[in-house]
């Protein structure tokens, strides 16, 4: 089921009667989620990603704009009639029911022609449990399960009524680091097996990048960029997106373009044909540095971290906007740890320049 959001806007009225300050949580949001894909809504907290998810679910009504599932306009449809499955951030499993009762609960609400016999319900519940691999735990209560198991039960409960769209709110935020890795693979697998269009919300860019077919980057209620994770990473449209994606984060410098050349400090580091002379902000991915004895950019060496496969070189530079610059280079390159400075050449496709005022990308 394709999901289309059209000029979606959500304005929360001000809480404080005096200031009358409205909060625009989601601002004129339009995009299309292709059928059967896994989409990550990504952004820092307060960017409106959960609000967007709740509007798709129908638990919140948009102030304006439209939502379509396939060709059906569901904007005015109440949540129970939309055919969605929703997994809450803290799972919201009914604590007094067993796993089986929790999974059966949505099926027991079906009425009219959708009504199922007892055997059919049990069959559906069992297959949902099997899909998320919790069929051994059917008679446990939620508080007897680990966080990861609770998460699976919540997904099974959302899937059992065969929703048209599956929505997950911060599905991994309550899990520890190892379980998070495992569970995100699991979500990917379940989504592939069922083929249900799935939207999940996260503030963790690594999480979104690793399993999504497409990511949607948001900031303060405004859509920044949408695309395949790798494309967005390789081609950020503005400084915010460039900064938000990638671990370690992108290195940002103050720079200038003069006579078709990009300068950081006094060093001309790159050819930038066709860009007018101006002050710019430069973003360089950690993997965009190459150690070179006669490299253009000289940085003061402060630390070298060996991580086995890679070496992470921490340096400083007066033009850097961050305290330190972190570059990642292949472990085969030998770094002289006693040296006071290192010299780099830059890989052009890992360097982005942005307008100093608007922070929009300047292409070269």
């Amino acid at each position: 089921m394709k999901v289309v959001l059209q000029n979606l806007t959500k304005i929360f009225p001000s809480r404080d009667k005096k200031s009358n300050q409205e909060v625009v949580a989601v601002n004129d949001f339009s995009f299309e989620i292709p059928d059967g894909k896994l989409i990550g809504l990504l952004g820092p907290s307060g960017c409106g990603k959960s609000t967007t998810l709740y509007m798709i679910s129908g638990l919140q009504k948009p102030t304006s704009g439209k939502i379509f599932f396939g060709d059906d306009d569901v904007t005015e449809l109440s949540t129970e009639n939309r055919g969605i499955g929703l997994v809450f951030q803290n799972y919201a499993l009914y604590p007094h029911m067993t796993v089986k009762q929790n999974i059966l609960f949505p099926l027991e609400n079906l009425k009219g022609k959708d009504k199922l016999t007892k055997e059919e319900k049990l069959e559906r519940a069992k297959s949902a449990a099997k899909l998320v691999q919790i069929d051994e735990l059917m008679d446990r209560k939620p508080n007897e399960l680990s966080g990861g198991q609770q998460q699976r039960v919540a997904i099974a409960r959302a899937l059992v009524k065969m929703p048209r769209v599956l929505l997950l709110d911060e599905p991994l935020s309550n899990l520890d680091a190892r379980l998070r890795l495992q569970t995100r693979e699991e979500i990917r697998r379940i989504q592939k097996e069922t083929g249900i269009t799935t939207v999940f919300v996260t503030h963790d860019q690594e999480e979104a990048m690793s399993i999504s077919d497409m990511i949607v980057v948001m900031k303060l209620g405004v859509l920044q960029q949408i695309g395949k994770p790798q494309d967005v990473y390789d081609n950020p449209v503005n400084l915010f997106v460039a900064k938000f994606l990638g671990t370690p984060p992108i290195n940002v410098f103050n720079g200038a373009v003069k006579d078709g050349k990009l300068y950081i400090g006094d060093a001309a580091v790159l050819e930038t044909p066709g860009v007018a002379d101006q002050e710019v902000t430069v973003g360089i991915r950690p993997e965009g540095f190459e150690l070179e004895a006669d490299g253009a950019l000289e940085c003061q060496l402060s630390n070298v971290e060996v991580m086995g496969r890679d070496v992470s070189i921490v340096t400083t530079h007066p033009a850097s906007c961050n305290v330190t610059i972190r570059s990642i280079i292949d472990a085969d390159c030998k770094v002289d740890v006693t040296a006071t400075s290192v010299r780099y050449n830059l890989k052009p496709h890992k360097v982005f320049i942005f307008n100093k005022e608007t922070e929009e990308r300047i292409y070269f």
Partner: protein, 312 residues
């Protein structure tokens, strides 16, 4: 653990409360047990400086309570009132609390109104109820004036009912008591349940909404189980309070505890104990211990049931 050298400080801080509890709670309990075992104990006789009475040790006070003809009436009234009013008031309080919790408009004023009976004197409430159910019969067969309840009955096309006056039926008396006790018990229960409702995570309701759960199903399958600790609490305290019913009956029927011409028809265990004080303290103590035993057993049953049904 507190450092042993500093424990005397803890005892010092606790001492005012401990002294008061010893004087007003622990000693009276022991004294009650002591008096109940002194056959025929009577404070007037015991206080007589000229005669030195010996009260024989034994269970005579208990047998006297059980043989007392009015005792069974007291027991029956007490149990009936408990068994009828606790379920009704709990159910009503649940529905009102859920209702109050789900509205936004007028929620605060309504909460205040529902809480009013709690801060009103029960004798005063009793007098108002007595007036509401009253019927003054003059010379003719028609009553000269009736309370608002009979006015409403008349407006609805029913006959007057003699609720509390001379010649009223036991059923009518009981009905008045049930209405009064339920109304009086509501505020505390509503308060506790409302507090419980506010502690339930809203996401359970959102999850239920996504699944298209009917309102009644949400109430019985989600709200009630999640509220069960509070429900158990109000039911248990309701039963304990119910077994101690006394002032409400005095409020409506006066200290004869029954309609004119039929005194002590609505008598209760506490009424029985209260009247024995000053005359037969031994008997009063025995009756108090019997009441304690009944409350203890009922509470144990309540706890056993709630342990199975309650989700914590």
């Amino acid at each position: 653990m507190v450092d042993t050298r500093k424990q005397w400080k803890a005892w010092l801080y606790l001492s005012p409360a401990i002294v008061l509890l010893l004087i007003f709670t622990v000693w009276p309990i022991f004294n009650t047990i002591r008096l109940s075992l002194m056959e025929g104990y009577n404070s007037t006789m015991a206080a007589n400086p000229y005669v030195d009475y010996e009260f024989p040790f034994g269970l005579g006070n208990f047998t006297r309570v059980l043989e007392y003809p009015n005792f069974l009436t007291c027991l029956k009234n007490t149990v009936l009132l408990c068994v009828i009013t606790v379920p009704i008031s709990t159910l009503l309080a649940l529905l009102i609390a859920v209702g109050l919790h789900s509205i936004k408009f007028l929620q605060k004023p309504l909460q205040t109104i529902f809480f009013m009976p709690y801060v009103t004197n029960s004798i005063a409430i009793g007098m108002v109820f007595a007036a509401m159910f009253n019927m003054v019969i003059g010379g003719s067969t028609r009553p000269d004036s009736v309370g608002i309840v009979n006015n409403i009955l008349e407006a609805l096309g029913f006959d007057y009912i003699n609720w509390t006056n001379a010649g009223s039926s036991y059923g009518a008396n009981l009905a008045v008591m049930v209405v009064y006790i339920v109304w009086n018990a509501l505020p505390f229960k509503i308060l506790v349940l409302l507090g419980g409702l506010q502690g339930i995570n809203k996401q359970y309701y959102e999850a239920a909404r996504v699944d298209g759960t009917k309102k009644s199903r949400v109430l019985w399958r989600i709200t009630v189980p999640l509220l069960s600790p509070m429900l158990a609490y109000v039911i248990i305290t309701g039963f304990i309070g119910g077994f101690k019913e006394y002032s409400s009956i005095v409020g409506i029927f006066g200290d004869t505890m029954g309609p004119a011409g039929n005194p002590y028809r609505m008598d209760t265990m506490v009424g029985f104990i209260y009247r024995a004080i000053g005359k037969q303290e031994g008997t009063a103590s025995a009756a108090a211990l019997i009441l304690f035993g009944i409350i203890f057993v009922v509470t144990m049953i309540n706890l056993a049931v709630s342990k199975k049904k309650t989700h914590y």
